[in-house]
Symmetry: C2
Subunit: 419 residues, 2 copies
Amino acid sequence: MKQNILYAQSGGVTPVINATACGVIETARENRAKIGKVYAAKDGIIGALREELIDTSKERKADIAGLKHTPGGAFGSCRFKLKSLEESAREYERLVEVLKAHNIGYFFYNGGGDSADTAYKVSQISDKLGYPVQCIGVPKTIDNDLPITDCCPGFGSVAKYVAVSIMEASLDVASMASSSTKVFVLEVMGRHAGWIAAAGGLACREKGDPPHVILFPEIPFKQREFLKKVKEAVETHGYCSIVVSEGVRDARGKFLADQGTKDAFGHAQLGGVAPVVAGLVKAKLGYKYHWAVSDYLQRSARHVASETDVDHAYSVGKAAVELALAGKNGVMPVIKRLSDDPYKWTVDEAPLSRVANREKMMPRRYITKDGFGITPSARRYLEPLIRGEAYPPYGKDGLPQYVQLKKVLVDKKLPAFKV
Amino acid sequence: MKQNILYAQSGGVTPVINATACGVIETARENRAKIGKVYAAKDGIIGALREELIDTSKERKADIAGLKHTPGGAFGSCRFKLKSLEESAREYERLVEVLKAHNIGYFFYNGGGDSADTAYKVSQISDKLGYPVQCIGVPKTIDNDLPITDCCPGFGSVAKYVAVSIMEASLDVASMASSSTKVFVLEVMGRHAGWIAAAGGLACREKGDPPHVILFPEIPFKQREFLKKVKEAVETHGYCSIVVSEGVRDARGKFLADQGTKDAFGHAQLGGVAPVVAGLVKAKLGYKYHWAVSDYLQRSARHVASETDVDHAYSVGKAAVELALAGKNGVMPVIKRLSDDPYKWTVDEAPLSRVANREKMMPRRYITKDGFGITPSARRYLEPLIRGEAYPPYGKDGLPQYVQLKKVLVDKKLPAFKV
């Protein structure tokens, strides 16, 4: 008997996670002879546990195709980490019950390292619980920190957004620097690793180009060296353009963003390393500044997505179905780079046991010796990932035509479960 | 004898001010029989006073064409307001000396209300000083606050950026709201008028669509009503998406952004109404939040410009040359709307005396009764302005190919002048 797929989105969403969903659903539909339906968990693993399953067969073909250009998580996602098999035994058992109740033979978990870990555990226990399921992890994270895979779907589009944005804002600052703002600070995501901040460095194609300073979480913040670098840039180029990672820490390991600032209501003001850095420049060097915090904008900017990234995202979804059809279990499709220039890649597979709970940090050799820029080898790695444009269609109203799914839920068969 | 044009960019730059420069230079080049060179003041009026004139005839044709898709101010701009004829007599006289020394018969000042005022004054005094010059104001401002013209080149692209960005970020928030961030706040520009904030409302095409709350500078902030509205949105839609203008003030007229916040260095922390609003929501309603401040990104995002806006910007540059050839003085080309749907427009002219020093505020009827959204008439006005995409070309490196000019300066003929 044909079995169904359960697909779930996990953790922070990306501009292209729905392209992966599109790859899964379209490829499954092409294999109707062997695969039943694709169910999508509503709001991620929480929905799977609650038996809230969206029947994607109820969605129009055009809407499924439209997922390829729609940001956000079309089926919903959540941050909910299952712990060890012992600690979260109740959840793992429930998950297998749900899979069993709905004839689900394939569980696709689209997320980062934690999700790979969960999928790996499910692949181990489902057999023991008398209902074997093929578990496939599907990579996704803007943080680009999964091991084995050359890059993570989602990262390339964020990288493109950051590189384009700092290039554009720097043109603005440069125009007026002789009599106005001299320092511009753009805050980007990446609490643990500087991949996204590094992408800003792609805008610097020739010596002197902005950004003039990048602050990485990997490099402890040194105030004196930083201020010296800013002053030099302003004196040489007339202005200084800065990209700062939200995860920058001082020499004692404290987040620069976490300065104990209180707002007018007396509450700790959370987040925002850009204003801290800009304020420091103003106080010590006296330069007029502006700052921007792109926050979710960078993570949802499908309008400026990387074509390479969209292709990666779709391909890992497609590959997940192919791996399932090939009888694989406990694996993840990964991007394998074949060459930098011309950029060539293929989809390979990796065991979830080797992916789970391992973070890929940015190599020190990608950061210049002074700690404020990226090296040619970083550029060689990063550049192909932002190549190509993959615009969404726009309506007559000037706005992108992002799809909204119907999200019809499958009838429940099990008692309620409290998550 | 053929006379030259002096073109100067003024005030805050826009994603499309260079499209206007392109319109001026290309149209002048098409009229070589009647017009000499186009000089561009380096860094705006300051460069004109310092006799720092860029000879645009030294730029390649392809680079001039590329100005149409390059953000920032390619020749440089400044915020430098000439005062009354009496107070700034020295500067006005110097300006006329520079025009005279370089056989400049046409002065094009590309800016907002202040620049229209300056151009108007120059048009009045040049005759008296024995060197008549035709002064043409050329409209530009993201604030959309010039009178007479239906809209201001620059605004449409910022409007499109804001509408697209809040739409995308809202999809992200909606994906994860059931277990994570419930409130997202996007801060946009517009210190005096809510045009830019209103543009965010274009993303709300159907009842319930984000943004759920817009905070306008025109509406005094009322904490209780605001919190009620946020709570309602979260309870109804699962999340609340907010656009806030940097210019929002409390009932006593004090900027919400100016809350006397001190940073870790003990300095007043300037700017950032988004974190203030988000912090309030957290404190009073307990919702998890995220906030973004787009700052210069919105003003330079040529990658998502409005085609309508680019066309407007180019057309007013072209029209300035045509008005000059027609012997006009003390005028400004303006956008005249002929119909909303289908959107039709033409370029008309207005006397600078009627443009100078008048701000066009947003009509109250564009804001809903409760003060948190836009009305159908606002939508009818705004929508055509964000229509159409006008992408810049991208290189093989995945980045826009923005042009860098050579900016060759003309030899000086006058003694130095201290600005």
